[in-house]
């Protein structure tokens, strides 16, 4: 759901959105929310970059960084999960209140509560992420501790010859309920962008493009899912090859994985 990836060719660049990639003009395209587990996690990562004590971290610059990050993503016309936008709206509100303290002292208490709540939320998630790491470092069975390799079996008091786990039971009941209901098999309509559609769209748009224009610019607006973006990118690329073969347009790519540019043939 937070799977936003504008890189048309691969998403090999792991890590967090602000990781740089070679050319500066490309940098903005690599905003990538894949590495985050939600808005608080993103905020926590921004906070960690400041290498400050989370308990004392200044909320205002953090809010600004978050908003800048989201704005970058929005400028690129990316779909951003609702959670991220709710947080952005809330931080924008918080920011305005921090910049313009309310003359009424009661209202200012509320701001203190809000910043404290945010700090607490960050601290708590940080604590749990640390806890997860510590769990991983415990001496695990099968890794650092081993059970008897050749167990011998004797009766226990329960004398159960048959055994089943709770998971087995629940999964089994889930299956019964799923299959017992009247089933209507619906095949979700695929929203993959066909090459034909892309070619049609390119033919229409290309005549007005006398300057080299990046391929992504030709993608339809409102692509809501990363899969749609990828699908549209792929079909537009294939269509552009076809149209280049027909002599309708020209293609340019400066190096491997560099952006692909298109322009109309007429003005060549």
């Amino acid at each position: 759901m937070t799977d936003i990836n504008t890189d048309p060719f691969d998403n090999d660049h792991s890590g967090h959105g602000h990781s740089g990639h070679g050319q500066p003009e490309q940098l903005a395209l690599f905003v990538n929310l894949d590495g985050f587990e939600g808005p608080i996690d993103l905020l926590l990562n921004l906070a960690r970059d400041q290498k400050l004590d989370l308990k004392k971290i200044a909320i205002l610059p953090l809010a600004e960084q978050y908003l800048e990050f989201i704005n970058n993503a929005r400028e690129l016309d990316l779909e951003i999960a609702a959670d991220y936008l709710v947080m952005a709206a809330w931080l924008a509100y918080l920011k305005s209140r921090l910049l313009l303290p309310d003359p009424e002292p009661e209202q200012n208490d509320e701001i203190i509560d809000m910043t404290d709540a945010l700090r607490y939320q960050l601290l708590r998630l940080e604590a749990m992420q640390q806890a997860a790491k510590r769990l991983q470092s415990l001496p695990k069975l099968g890794q650092a501790r081993f059970a008897r390799g050749a167990p011998e079996q004797f009766a226990s008091s329960s004398a159960s010859v048959w055994t089943a786990s709770l998971y087995d039971l629940l999964a089994c009941y889930g299956d019964i309920q799923s299959s017992g209901e009247a089933e209507t098999l619906t095949i979700a309509a695929t929203r993959l962008y066909s090459v034909e559609e892309a070619a049609k769209r390119l033919r229409h748009l290309i005549s007005s493009m006398s300057d080299w224009t990046v391929l992504q610019h030709f993608l339809p607006p409102n692509l809501s899912k990363p899969m749609d973006v990828r699908s549209a990118t792929a079909s537009h690329f294939v269509a552009s090859l076809e149209l280049a073969r027909e002599g309708v347009l020209r293609l340019r790519q400066d190096s491997h994985f560099a952006p692909i540019y298109l322009k109309t043939r007429d003005q060549a």
Partner: protein, 232 residues
Amino acid sequence: MSSLDKLTEYAATLEALVFASDKPLRDRELQHHLPDDMHVADVMAVVMQRYDASSGVELCQVGDGWAFRTRPAIAERLQQHKTIERPLSRAALEVLAIIAYHQPITRAEIEEIRGISLSKGTMDILLELTWIKPRGRRSTPGRPLTWGTSPAFLDHFGLSDITDLPGMEDLKAAGLLRKGQILGALMDHNAGDDDASDDSDTYDSDDDGDDLDGDFLEDALLDAGYDGEADA
């Protein structure tokens, strides 16, 4: 490090190796883990000291390898009721799940849900495991016997109360309803949506107040093993 410490340390290593192995380990395999100037026999002699006659376990040579075995006298005593655990059959698991979620439920109702008739052995297995028990009779014609789960069932599955079973929403959220998203809160409603609704013992999965027939209630209350409290 003194040579004694070193010997103890290597003894611990070989002891752990033999313990974790699924088959007897040969001298040659054990020697790999020792420095050249140490001999398996010497090191195993140290391990052997721990498993003296008062231990329930003995270190023994099996063929040309080393293994731990339960001491024969004890093994013989325990062996008398040796069992081999096998996974419950799919049919038995299905019946158990249906009983757990729909109790009290009659045999006919189980068959209706599964769409096939119950073979005798299936209920027998569950009874033998003491995971199910009779839960009184329906006050409908023929007064059919109903079935429910027992405290042993809760114990085996690590539940403190039958209401700990995840409802449909929970199952769906946990990804256990693989098909069909239309079920909604089925668990919370299905007790009342058929002709069972006029039965006196309609089981409402939503609260733990079991309304049961008189004589059964007594059994339930007398059952010392049952612990109605949630959250041990």
